[in-house]
Subunit: 345 residues, 2 copies
Amino acid sequence: MPKDPAKPATILDVAARAGVSKSAASLALRGTGYVSAAKREAVLAAAAELGYRPNAAARAMGSARSGTVGVILDDLRNPWFVPAVEGLSEGLHEAGLRPLLGDWRLEGAALAERFLELRVEALVLVGTLDGAESALPALPPVPVVQVGAAQAQVPGAAAVTNDDGEGARRVVRHLAALGHRRIAHLAARGTAVGEARLAGFADECARLGVASVTVEAGLTEEAGRRAALALLGSGAREDTPRGDADRPTAVFAVNDMAALGALSAAEELGLRIPADLSLAGYDDTPAARLRAVGLTSVDNASREAGRVAARMLADRIARPGLAPETVLLEPELKARSSTAAPGTP
Amino acid sequence: MPKDPAKPATILDVAARAGVSKSAASLALRGTGYVSAAKREAVLAAAAELGYRPNAAARAMGSARSGTVGVILDDLRNPWFVPAVEGLSEGLHEAGLRPLLGDWRLEGAALAERFLELRVEALVLVGTLDGAESALPALPPVPVVQVGAAQAQVPGAAAVTNDDGEGARRVVRHLAALGHRRIAHLAARGTAVGEARLAGFADECARLGVASVTVEAGLTEEAGRRAALALLGSGAREDTPRGDADRPTAVFAVNDMAALGALSAAEELGLRIPADLSLAGYDDTPAARLRAVGLTSVDNASREAGRVAARMLADRIARPGLAPETVLLEPELKARSSTAAPGTP
DNA sequence: TTCGTGTATGGGAACGTTCCAATATGTCCC
DNA sequence: GGGACATATTGGAACGTTCCCATACACGAA
């Protein structure tokens, strides 16, 4: 029936088939403005028969609104962002916006450029993007909201993130309540989350009068393993009373990956978890939740962060001049089998 | 300098500033056709000064080519797709195409519709999408390639996937070579991967004359744990010689998640891995690679699958009539500490 | 009647790019 | 000197929508 079966039907084809003007067809398809019920039905029927699919490019050009938001994910390998994206997606839908996803590691700054060429109405940065400060346009033409990073990486961007300092404090309180008096921290200095968690850790240890040791590790499993071996191995090797007395009874790692590395180290050293050593991580990743692992961790309110980000973003699209704003959300401690009172069999 | 500072510069602004026609500006910016070096430089300079960013919507309309490909991911929570997406992304770049990502669980069929409205030049389905058969358009106007699913879910789609039967056979060969003569399989009937792996398992056991037991489990950790408890628990409880003799010395789970569930079950039953029981999974997920877990698994050549998918897709964009085709890729066994000869201390 | 006002309807312009055809200007070779 | 051909440049049409404005009709109020 269409003139050229290879080419998709346009709104003109639909209008012609329904016997109305293209304007009426446009109005009927979008459900806005004044169209008689009879015409609306005729248009809808014609569209269905022709398999009409509106051309998003043409729509974006006509209306100067694309209805889409570019979402730049830090790293697909670390699925910690999933709840955040879910919350974000929900919030966007309510605002009539649709997300478009991309991976920063895969494409880098070209991704942001591409989204801007697609005329997204806003950009969402999820996580701390490597080198984003220099690679992203210093003055993006659309509002930017960053979620899950300790600090906005683009000047003027709004941010919603988790209170990592508070999360670390809660871990310390949990361990102290169990009776631990000497707690070690596997840190990741130089990273935003690392600094925030370290500060919270040191702060709360001092406040509670708990002895603290900090060892530089990093955010990966291997870094956690090495740091834990260095921390726990020396005492064990010497096998002196002093060495044992000095050894911390609990380790709080900067994230779950590092904690899992420490778990391996403990195993290698013959330390039982939690009898000889309590272990806590951060991020509440799926691996931590595995029954065979049972790692005490901190659950970021990421889903909520995503929802808040969507709201901020809708506000900023409606009123572009809005001032930068940073929202901190409270994390939640998830106590599991890797932490217990010292000496528990 | 621009007429209206709020509005982004267009190619007409650039052309005016460089003192050339819009056609020359277009040619210079794209680097095609004939433009003198002097004009090219003038145009590039003007574009930089104005912060010109081409409008993708207008470009797509003018050229009838969007240069993008819609990638529909089954589930962001299961990052097994990451290597596939990486390979795909690489391959697409070489073909001058750019991926746009979306999550099937988050948006469902509306996502495909949206991609088609954006006039993507092809669709890539990653994994087995829940209910895709009925929800996706039966006759999509663009080529469809499915990667990582045992069977294409859209009629006429090309598919590239891993040879799950062969992977299962390799696991059996590995275990048999270690000396195991009684191997159990935690299956997931009714799923595409489950059936393929079960078939390979049964096949190879029969070929090698190894006793096999199959227990229905599922694809999740909890399903694996329950099935393993039922399988291993009964014999252990009775504590009779017959019970022990009957107990399989190795368990091959349909995927890593189920294997990790079985790992928990073994721990609960006091079975040591690999001394009392060898354990193998499938997919070679990050969790399996954790040193504290060390799960023998099968590595799908997912990265390669992504690259192959990109090539198939470029072919099909160039020649739309191409026949459906299915490519099977060979998986690789990753032996780790969870498998050993029976009775190894 | 005449004037608004709410409801319908359609024609034309606009959006920003690419593509195409038309037109110059050489430059080389017979 | 005159095609043939590569190089260079340009204006106009086309892409498929939405938006704006002009128009038409009906109805009630002044």
